[in-house]
Symmetry: C2
Subunit: 134 residues, 2 copies
């Protein structure tokens, strides 16, 4: 067990000689690159869904759209199968992201409703500041 | 409300004239492109974590690694802030993905333990088939 811990702690060193630690480090560097890409893609995705939320709020459309979500799930499951990703996980992932999006849309709508009610209040508090977040 | 429903249902038509429906369709096409990219990136990420899981299982390393996860969370939160993504969401996202990865690693380890115990059983049932899934 001490050898294993040494192996893991060696990964913090600039030169890693242990072949297992070296391989683990190599794999983790790829995971880190992919995670950076995922985070940046998610940031862009939330920019788009924020635009969707503003469009829906401006036109009184409901934040959730079950028919659209069913299409997305079906499509993502098919893409996942082609990519050898567990379709169940792809569906859970979409639900996870959509839940966050709906939360944002509802916040946008309630903020808009509250803004309409308080239209006489000055805009000194920063207006749509929270909308600049995903 | 009927107008809104017509607007949404118009999105299934090849030619969309309503400007709001058109804009919503444009945004949704971008979301769909990003979701395809996300699914393919996640598929690659799970291929790598599967290799990590196999490496860990082969060398008796524990599936979870709290120190590594803390580093990942710190790094992803910083990347998220730069990308204007809610750091809380980035952390939740990582936890969501890591939970799935740990589940796979534990399955790999228990499968390996079970394989060792049943080494005399013929391999006709497909061996590591479930490992080819994420």
């Amino acid at each position: 067990m001490r050898a294993l811990l040494a192996r893991l702690s060696a990964m913090g060193d600039p030169v890693v000689e242990d072949p297992v630690a070296k391989e683990l480090l190599r794999l983790r560097m790829s995971i880190d690159n992919m995670d950076a890409a995922l985070v940046h893609l998610l940031a862009e995705r939330f920019k788009i869904t924020q635009q969707v939320g503003e469009l829906k709020a401006a036109h009184g459309l409901p934040p959730a759209d079950p028919a659209r979500e069913a299409q997305q799930i079906e499509r993502l499951r098919a893409l996942a199968e082609d990519a050898k990703l567990d379709p169940e996980f792809a569906e859970k992932f979409l639900n996870f992201v959509v839940a966050e999006v709906v939360r944002h849309h509802e916040a946008t709508m309630s903020k808009n409703a509250s803004s309409a009610a308080k239209a006489y209040v000055s805009h000194q508090s920063g207006g749509n500041e929270h909308l600049s977040r995903p």
